[in-house]
C-alpha cells in the first residue's frame, strides 16, 4: 500500500509526538463503567468464567510461590497483576485458535481448561507431564488445548506465530493464532522479523503485548525510547490498539475485535495491554533490589481482579459469599493436586533419548545402553528412587 506522496519543501522531521496512540478504557478504577465507554457484549457465563479463571490463577500463583519456598518446586513464575491482560484476551478467541505464548500466560492455559493436576504434573516433572519432565517448571504445553509448548528463549514464537497463522489461512479454516509476549521480548530481532513477515504475508495472527513495566530488573525507560510497542505495529502496517491491561472489559472488547479483524482482513493485529508485573520476575528474582514498594503499591490498588469483581457485584452476577466460597474451593483443589501429584513417579529414564528424533538413531541408543550399564554399577548414586523407574523395560524398548 503506497500512501499518496506528501511532499514538503523544507526539512521537517516527523516526531513520535506526531502519532498519539489512544488507550481503550471501559471500567474505571472502582469497576464502574466510564461515562463515554461502551460495555462490550458479554454474557454472564463468559464473565463468570473469566472472573473465576483470574481468581484461580492468583491463588495458584500464591500457592506455588509458597511451594517453591518450601522446596517442593525448583522454580516458579507468577502472572500476578496481569490476569486481566491474559484472560481478557484469550476469552476473545475460539478454542481451536492456536496459542503461542511467552511464559507468563498460565491464565490463558487455565481458560482453555488445563486442570490443577495438569499444572502440577508439569511443575513437578512427574510421569504425567506432557513434556516428560524435560523442561523447567512453567514450561507448559498442550496439543489438546491448542497451546504450543513454551520455550524459555524470548520472542522466538513471534515469527513462528506468523507462519502458523499463514498455514491456518491456507487451510481455509476459521482459525487464527494468538501470540503473547512482553515489552522486553519486543526488543529481540525475532519481534521485528515476525511482525514484518506477518504483515507482508497477510497472516491472521493477533499479537498480544503485555507491557508490564519490567523485564527482570530493566524498566521500560531502559528498554525503549519510543511510545511503547503499539506504534511499532503502525510502522509495519499492522492495525494496533492499546488498552488498559487491568481493565478486563477493555482487554476483552479489543481482543474480540482484533480476532474479527485478523480473520476478516487476513492480517495481523497488535493489542498492547498496559499493566504491571506485580510479582518478582520469577522465584529467582528479588525486585526490592531495583524498585520501590511505594511504586508497587500504586499498582496494587489497580488490581484487575478486584476491579472486575466490583463490576460483577454491581451487575448482580456475583456475591461476596460466592467469592469467599470459590477462593476456599480453589485453595483446596490446588493443594490437594499438589499433594497427590508430587507422589507420582518421575518419567521413565528411557525418555532421556526419545523425541530427540522421531526414532532414536543407533548412536543415541548406544549411548543410552552405556548409561544403563554405568547406572547398574552405581545403583545408589543415580535415579534416587529406583522403584520409580523400570529401566529394564526401558532398555528392551530399543532393542
Amino acid at each position: 500500500m503506497t500512501a499518496k506522496a506528501n511532499v514538503i519543501g523544507v526539512p521537517r522531521f516527523t516526531e513520535i509526538t506526531d502519532l498519539t496512540i489512544p488507550t481503550l478504557s471501559i471500567l474505571d478504577a472502582e469497576g464502574k463503567l466510564r461515562k463515554d465507554a461502551h460495555e462490550p457484549l458479554i454474557n454472564k457465563a463468559t464473565a463468570m468464567k473469566i472472573y473465576q479463571d483470574m481468581a484461580y490463577i492468583r491463588i495458584l500463583d500464591e500457592r506455588m510461590v509458597a511451594a517453591q519456598r518450601q522446596g517442593r518446586l525448583s522454580f516458579y513464575l507468577t502472572c500476578t497483576g496481569e490476569e486481566a491482560s491474559v484472560v481478557g484476551s484469550i476469552a476473545g478467541f475460539k478454542s481451536h485458535d492456536m496459542v503461542m505464548s511467552q511464559y507468563r500466560e498460565q491464565a490463558a492455559l487455565r481458560y482453555r481448561g488445563f486442570s490443577s493436576e495438569q499444572f502440577m504434573n508439569q511443575l513437578l516433572s512427574n510421569d504425567l507431564d506432557f513434556g516428560k519432565g524435560r523442561q523447567m517448571p512453567i514450561h507448559y504445553g498442550s496439543r489438546e488445548l491448542n497451546y504450543m509448548t513454551i520455550s524459555s528463549t524470548l520472542a522466538t514464537q513471534i515469527p513462528q506465530a506468523a507462519g502458523y497463522a499463514y498455514g491456518q489461512k491456507l487451510s481455509g479454516k476459521d482459525a487464527c493464532t494468538i501470540c503473547y509476549f512482553g515489552e522486553g521480548a519486543a526488543s529481540e530481532g525475532d519481534f521485528h522479523a515476525g511482525l514484518n513477515m506477518a504483515a507482508v504475508s497477510n497472516c491472521p495472527v493477533v499479537f498480544v503485548v503485555r507491557n508490564n513495566g519490567y523485564a527482570i530488573s530493566t524498566p521500560t525507560s531502559e528498554q525503549f525510547s519510543g511510545d511503547g510497542i503499539a506504534p511499532r505495529g503502525i510502522g509495519y502496517g499492522i492495525s494496533s490498539i492499546r488498552v488498559d491491561g487491568n481493565d478486563i472489559l477493555a482487554v476483552y472488547a479489543a481482543s474480540v475485535e482484533a480476532r474479527k479483524l485478523a480473520l476478516e482482513k487476513n492480517a495481523p493485529v497488535i493489542v498492547e495491554t498496559m499493566s504491571y508485573r506485580l510479582g518478582a520476575h520469577s522465584t529467582s528474582d528479588d525486585p526490592t533490589n531495583y524498585r520501590s514498594s511505594a511504586e508497587e503499591d500504586v499498582w496494587r490498588k489497580k488490581d484487575p481482579i478486584l476491579r472486575m469483581k466490583n463490576w460483577m457485584l454491581d451487575k448482580g452476577w456475583w456475591s461476596d459469599q460466592q467469592d469467599h466460597q470459590l477462593k476456599a474451593q480453589y485453595k483446596k483443589e490446588i493443594l490437594d493436586a499438589l499433594k497427590s501429584q508430587e507422589k507420582r513417579p518421575s518419567p521413565s529414564i528411557s525418555e532421556l533419548i526419545t523425541d530427540v528424533y522421531k526414532t532414536p538413531p543407533a548412536h543415541l541408543q548406544k549411548q543410552y545402553k552405556d548409561l544403563l550399564s554405568h547406572i547398574d554399577k552405581y545403583p545408589d548414586h543415580y535415579l534416587p528412587n529406583p522403584n520409580k523407574v523400570d529401566h529394564q523395560t526401558a532398555l528392551t524398548q530399543f532393542n
Binding site: R134, Q135, S151, L154, G189, E222, Q223, Y290, H381
Partner: protein, 325 residues
C-alpha cells in the same frame, strides 16, 4: 590474599579493567544498577557511571553488534550475554562479523577490543535453556578466541587477559561453581596468558583433560583412581581456541593415555578435535584409545540431569577402562 569466589573474581577483574582503562565499557541485560542476574557486574555502574556500565534492551544480536562497533571505534567492549543458551540470536554477529572483521579488511579495521562474557553449563536444574555448553560452535570459527576458567584465580587473570587481548574473545563462565569455587585471588591487577593449559596435578599413568566446571569431576575421579594406585595427570585447558597442543602432547607422550571430558554433547564436541589432533601427534606413544566422557547427544534434560552429566563416576570408569585396555 583474600579468599573470594569465582563470581567475585569476575567482578574484581571487571572492576580492575574499568579502573585501569577508561575505554572499558560493560553492557548487557540487567547488568546496570541491579548488577546482573548473577551479580557479576555488581557496583560497577555505581562506580563508573551509567555511560560505562549500562543495561541494554533484550537483544543479544544488538548487544554483540553494538559491541563490535564500539570495539571497532577503539573502545573496549565487555558484553554480557545473560545465559550462554541465549547467545544464538547473536551467532551471525559473532561468527560472520566479529570473527572476520580484521581478516576481511586486511587489518584496516578490527574489533579486537571485544570480549563476550556468558555463564554456561549445567548442574543447576536449568533444563534445556539454562544449562547448555555451546563452546564447540565457537571453536569452529577462525578469528575467535574461546576461554573458560575453572577457579577464581583463573577467572580474574584470564578475564583481564581476554579484555586486553587484541582479538575478540568469548569468555564462558561456569555458573554451577560461581559461588562454590573459592580461592585466593590477588586484589591487584594480573593476567594469565591465553592459549596455555595448566597442568594441575602431575601423574604418570593417564592424562585427564577438561575445562570449566568439569575440572571438579576430573579431580574427584583422579582421587578415586589414586586409591587404586593409578596416578592421573590432570590438565585444565583454560583456552580452547587457540589451544595448547604442546602441553597435551608432552603429557600424553609421558602417560600414553588420554581422557577428555566436557558437558556438551559428544558429537561435534571439542573433545573430538583434541582426540584427532593427539592421535596425529602421539600415535606411537598411545597405549589405549583416547576416551571421551561427555554429555549425551540429546538436548540438556531436567529430571535426568544427573544421569546425563559426565560426572566423576563416569570419568573414573573411563580411567579404569583406559588403564586396563
Amino acid at each position: 590474599m583474600p579468599q573470594i569466589n569465582l563470581l567475585q573474581a569476575v567482578n574484581s577483574a571487571l572492576d580492575t579493567a574499568m579502573a585501569s582503562d577508561q575505554r572499558v565499557i560493560c553492557l548487557g541485560e540487567d547488568i546496570g544498577e541491579f548488577g546482573g542476574v548473577f551479580r557479576a557486574t555488581s557496583k560497577l555502574q555505581e562506580k563508573y557511571g551509567k555511560q560505562r556500565c549500562f543495561n541494554t534492551p533484550i537483544t543479544e544480536q544488538g548487544i554483540v553488534g553494538f559491541s563490535i562497533g564500539l570495539a571497532a571505534q577503539g573502545s573496549v567492549a565487555v558484553a554480557e550475554i545473560q545465559f550462554a543458551d541465549y547467545i544464538f540470536p547473536a551467532f551471525d554477529q559473532i561468527v560472520n562479523e566479529a570473527a572476520k572483521f580484521r581478516y576481511r579488511s586486511g587489518d584496516q579495521f578490527s574489533c579486537g577490543g571485544l570480549t563476550i562474557r556468558t555463564p554456561y553449563g549445567g548442574g543447576i536444574a536449568g533444563g534445556l535453556y539454562h544449562s547448555q555448553s555451546p563452546e564447540a560452535y565457537f571453536c569452529h570459527t577462525p578469528g575467535l578466541k574461546v576461554v573458560i576458567p575453572s577457579t577464581a584465580y583463573q577467572a580474574k587473570g584470564l578475564l583481564l587477559a581476554s579484555i586486553r587481548d587484541p582479538d575478540p574473545v568469548i569468555f564462558f563462565e561456569p555458573k554451577a561453581i560461581y559461588r562454590a569455587e573459592v580461592g585466593e585471588v590477588p586484589d591487584q591487577d594480573y593476567e594469565i596468558p591465553l592459549g596455555i593449559a595448566e597442568v594441575v596435578t602431575r601423574g604418570t599413568d593417564v592424562t585427564l583433560l577438561g575445562w570449566g566446571a568439569q575440572m571438579h569431576q576430573l579431580h574427584r575421579a583422579a582421587k578415586m583412581a589414586l586409591e587404586d594406585g593409578i596416578q592421573c595427570e590432570v590438565i585444565d585447558l583454560r583456552t580452547l581456541l587457540p589451544w595448547d597442543l604442546e602441553t597435551i602432547v608432552a603429557s600424553v607422550n609421558k602417560t600414553g593415555r588420554l581422557i577428555v571430558s566436557h558437558e556438551a554433547p559428544r558429537t561435534g564436541g571439542f573433545a573430538g578435535e583434541i582426540a584427532a589432533a593427539i592421535q596425529e601427534e602421539c600415535f606411537l606413544s598411545l597405549e589405549s584409545p583416547i576416551i571421551r566422557v561427555t554429555g549425551m547427544d540429546t538436548p540438556f534434560p531436567l529430571v535426568f540431569e544427573k544421569e546425563y552429566l559426565p560426572d566423576y563416576l563416569k570419568v573414573y570408569e573411563a580411567i579404569k577402562q583406559s588403564v586396563n585396555f
